[in-house]
Symmetry: D2
Subunit: 384 residues, 4 copies
């Protein structure tokens, strides 16, 4: 939608579109029915009928599901009702086996876990391209001397290669954390009404394992209905990454001020001033960095969940996670474009440095000060 | 969209739909052109052509605008381009007067200010209905004695009338603040590229006043391009209101625990347990209360804006405001339903109170303790 | 304490010191005893004994009170115990009338409300000095032309007088909100265990009114034990003010970059680079602006309070309010110093503007663009 | 201090006391001087003189340092000045070698990293005791059947052993993350003014490695002056842990409502109602869970740091980290006490379950529903 256009990308929009969300939930119901049929928990023909009905979004109306979700407090209830009706129309006896032994949260959580995994493939692609660009910038400008600046004041010389290596190491550290938290979140949610797999007797654990395998997810020790730590940890990792991208965007937009003019991102135009080139990629990354802290805090507050399923915290959880992932995607995509299209002006770097010589004591000239810079740069590019 | 279905309502969705956002922006461009024509700033026929082209959303493709917005950093640029093209097709000489002297932020901010005003009409309606229900609950149960509970432990007797009067006074205080901040936010944004009305010479202030009047907004002393305090203050008021609704939802859901069973909201069902009645209205209100603090913090962080228009903070602002308003609407709508459909069980209130007599000393019985309760109840119902 | 030295001032430290907090709580107990004696609720000699014992902090050990508070969950309980013991030592029969009919929250909340009021006197003094400085800066530089900058890029000319007038209007709007919310928070908290004034029969309301008058606070319709909206609204107003101060600090620190060099704050030195002058006042204001959003969100989350006194939300409330007020004081004090000591370089403003003429089209020169700037400046200085 | 007594512990208070902070900073200066002397960077006698002067806090006045820190924007500057003066008094020629080649941030960050490490030893001790108690509760009540509750309504039976095993697995997951982020944060900060080790030529890297070893910290690839991801990640892990403790506190306080009465924590008393036993341990944990999300969001916002050292974000960082660690300690300490002193009432669990039989369909009795509960419990106790 337009009002939050800057906080997503076309691809992320597609991953979390209504159709995609419905497909993901139906995919869980289908896998459940198949696994139950295989294990003899439901009649095999019922499993087939359910899987067939869940194979397409035909007959599921997103607007109606959303409206009904506001009544029941979860989109699982209207979706299961609609699936039952669709099954009943072709195989009446199978309809009672739809969603058998499962609870709403099993379906919703697992569906979103799968969508997050898809979104993370996009994030990884953009991260790798961004990291490669930053490494390349660092290598190409390894010996281009520039002012180091602290507290927005000139300090002593550094190289642009060292600065870009710092950016590289920052996003690398953050990606490694994000990737680890992604793996932790890629787990099945399946426990039935209170997490005891109560409908399945001694076939509960084999069913959970089979379902996890079918959906290409890890099988946790038990369901995690009342625990939001995995999503919270993941969104925190998104927040750390997006904040570090914001740091890079802040650096670049400061260096792009025309009085400094040491770098320039490709940028965008102005509706009123044709002569103007705006750092619009940085703007998107900085907007994202303003948004994530609030989303992280929502997930953190939402950890205080009641008993075997919470009232409210769960209901707020996935909206915040999806907002966070999409915003992370918008920032990464923007900063990838910024890094790939960055223009660097070593002459201006040198000129700005020279202009401060009157204030920086002569003993602090570059000759004395850059001894370790190249060694540090190489260490940072190893990935920190 | 489905993934955040619980954080809005059908009506709010409509207010902030793509078509509605585009219409609101076009409405600002149309009013601008008309006012400029009236004041002789642009040729009257150009004003008419622009207003005519901006009268319908025909020819504006939301998906394309969103994509282009991600390039330019604002949806105003592609929208103005599309409007110019539409005008040019029928009145070539008029197209150069589209968006004349305005800046992207003038259009975007004013458009959202108008949409927020529309949303607040819905909020007011639901607030008034909710407040009336709470007052009515208080009156009907003025003398129904129940346990007062502190730190989730029984304390001394109160009346349900007093408790409901507290709810009434709480939402009334919060609404009054929200309404005041709404009025503060209902101001025109119009200053041109740097807020100096630079294109208009001495007709700038008259134009701003005329535009404000045409759009039924207040005219501020000057444009507020680099200042987010009005939106932040408004969202904070939403946050305080939604948090207080969360307090009511918490109270009701606690009283609805079957071991206590003093009230029940209409609620919703369960996908797995037909015998179960869930407090789904309270769930939506509590989810909203989990979401607002993060949105408020985003607006607060976003106050640190650079110079005459910020890089990033502005770009994050309206998404957060719109998310906040829609979530406020979802909470109000849910709690209105909860209050209107609340079942009260005075017998259970009495029974739970009696059951604690063994622990509450006899000197603390209701006879001694409710002297001021009715007077306090009446004071609270005056609106605090 | 050192670890948060930058987030307070000496004066604020004193207002919220251990002795000051204890004195404020004792002051409430003393006023309560006196009012109860006057109304005949407790024996007048008991009232005198209690008031006398509560007149000094002698015999109250802050470290012990803090430790005991962690056991009982509130500092009121150990304080009341210590006061009872002190009274008992001189007037045994009076000790049972200590804290008579009151609840912990009555004392704690009222004590903090009083301390906040004291802190707000400091805030007002610094606000008024800051606003006067900003107005003066605006007047003195009314016609000094400089670059307006949007998205960190040069746009069109403005005057420094207009920019400073924007700062003035921003802090004025924010102060007015803060001051209104301060008044709303300056209310007595007094209701007894469950808010019903249960111990006092028909003398409860007169007692509450007398107590409010004695403590120079407003008397609310009823106690507000389960409602955090007043503190939350107040802290949100602090957040909006501090964020706007952060905007000014951001502007000034950007203009102080030596490549721009249009203004300079008095600043501080560097531990490693004697040639360096850092914008340390702006640093403190920007640190404060990074801290408030989180505190606001804590207050907002804390609105979801259970029944007649919450479990946890209340226990987190005043720490966050006090942190917020002290941090507001640190920002105001720092920015007052920045504004009072600001050096302005109109020549550099002009030079930077001239340097952009090659990129700004000639039709956009100052002559054409500053028509309304002075009028807008005057409007802003009226207070918005 | 009293106003935030509930958000710390005596031990944590000691770790972050003024003396302790000063000692930690002096310890870094001493280790630096010794390492520089060893490597021949400064004269060995100077190294000895500096280390001797830095060995005690004598001559360092916390109140004065705090006041001066507000002028210079960092406590390193007044501390280094005071240390230089102390050295000069006994070895004039050595004083110029104090803090040689280092920058304020090197000292401050490394000092806080060391204090955090000390605080984490306390956290680990309390975590291990808490985890042991939860495991023990789970084992002792492995077969005590109780109601599973979802959305605050009764659902199907679980065992208390399974519930406690969920708590155990939750804190175990969270501790493992916290511990990993602690290790990531236990790194030296040392780079000199702009991170290039500019004063040391080719001895910079050996010096950094020697310093890290002396302080028992890891040596990172390079200094991290402009990067807050390590502290932010650590505080996020604290937030996730504290939120999960909040979940346990919520569960226990709900089960302790007298109408349910299935468990009771040791708790505290009431200032007004002698018959009352409050869940004051849970109150502290829930207060902590209300505080951490805001602190996490401050750290996340603070990731957007300018260039080689930020203006403001760095200045806000350690206060927030220390607040977070102390609050984590308060929650852990409280919940350790709660778990160790928890009274469990299996008879009430059974009675409450039986009372719902009229509403839970008979087919859903415990016999049918607890097949997998014990297997799940054992899996959870393996650590998830």
């Amino acid at each position: 939608v337009i009002y939050n256009a800057l906080a997503t990308t076309d691809e992320m929009n597609e991953v979390f579109s209504d159709i995609s969300v419905i497909e993901s939930m139906l995919g869980v119901e289908a896998a459940l029915a198949r696994a139950q049929a295989t294990l003899g928990i439901i009649p095999p023909p019922a499993g087939e009928s359910i899987a067939a009905a869940a194979a397409t979004v035909e007959g599921f109306d997103a607007a109606v599901l959303a409206r009904d979700a506001r009544q029941s407090g979860t989109m699982a209830i209207p979706l299961v009702d609609a699936l039952r009706a669709k099954v009943r129309a072709v195989a009446p006896s199978a309809s009672e086996f739809v969603h058998f032994g499962a609870t709403s949260q099993d379906i919703v959580d697992t569906a979103f876990v799968r969508l997050i995994a898809r979104a993370c493939v996009l994030l990884r692609r953009d991260h790798e391209a961004l990291a490669a660009s930053l490494r390349d910038l660092s290598d190409r400008h390894a010996s281009d001397v520039m002012l180091g600046r602290t507290l927005l004041q000139p300090a002593l010389p550094i190289t642009f290669g060292l600065k870009a290596a710092g950016w590289f190491a920052g996003v690398t550290r953050c990606w490694n954390r994000l990737d680890a938290s992604r793996a932790e979140l890629s787990v099945l949610q399946f426990g039935g009404p209170v997490g005891t797999l109560s409908a399945f007797g001694d076939r509960g654990l084999p069913l959970a394992d089979a379902l996890a395998e079918a959906l290409e997810l890890s099988a946790p020790a038990a369901s995690w209905h009342g625990y939001g730590d995995r999503p919270a940890h993941f969104v925190a990792a998104c927040g750390t990454y997006v904040g570090t991208l914001g740091k890079i965007a802040r650096d670049i937009s400061l260096l792009m001020q025309p009085e400094i003019a040491e770098v320039a991102e490709p940028g965008g135009g102005s509706s009123s001033m044709p002569h103007k080139r705006n750092p619009s990629g940085c703007a998107i990354a900085l907007a994202a960095a303003g948004r994530l802290p609030g989303l992280v805090s929502t997930l953190m507050s939402g950890l205080v969940q009641e008993h075997e399923r919470s009232l409210g915290a769960w209901h707020a959880q996935w909206t915040a996670v999806v907002d966070a992932v999409q915003t992370t995607g918008s920032s990464l995509s923007a900063m990838r474009g910024v890094a790939e299209g960055l223009t660097v002006h070593p002459d201006r770097m040198r000129a700005n440095l020279d202009a401060t010589r009157t204030t920086i004591p002569s003993s602090a000239g570059p000759a004395d000060h850059l001894g370790a810079a190249e060694a540090l740069r190489r260490r940072l590019l190893k990935g920190d």
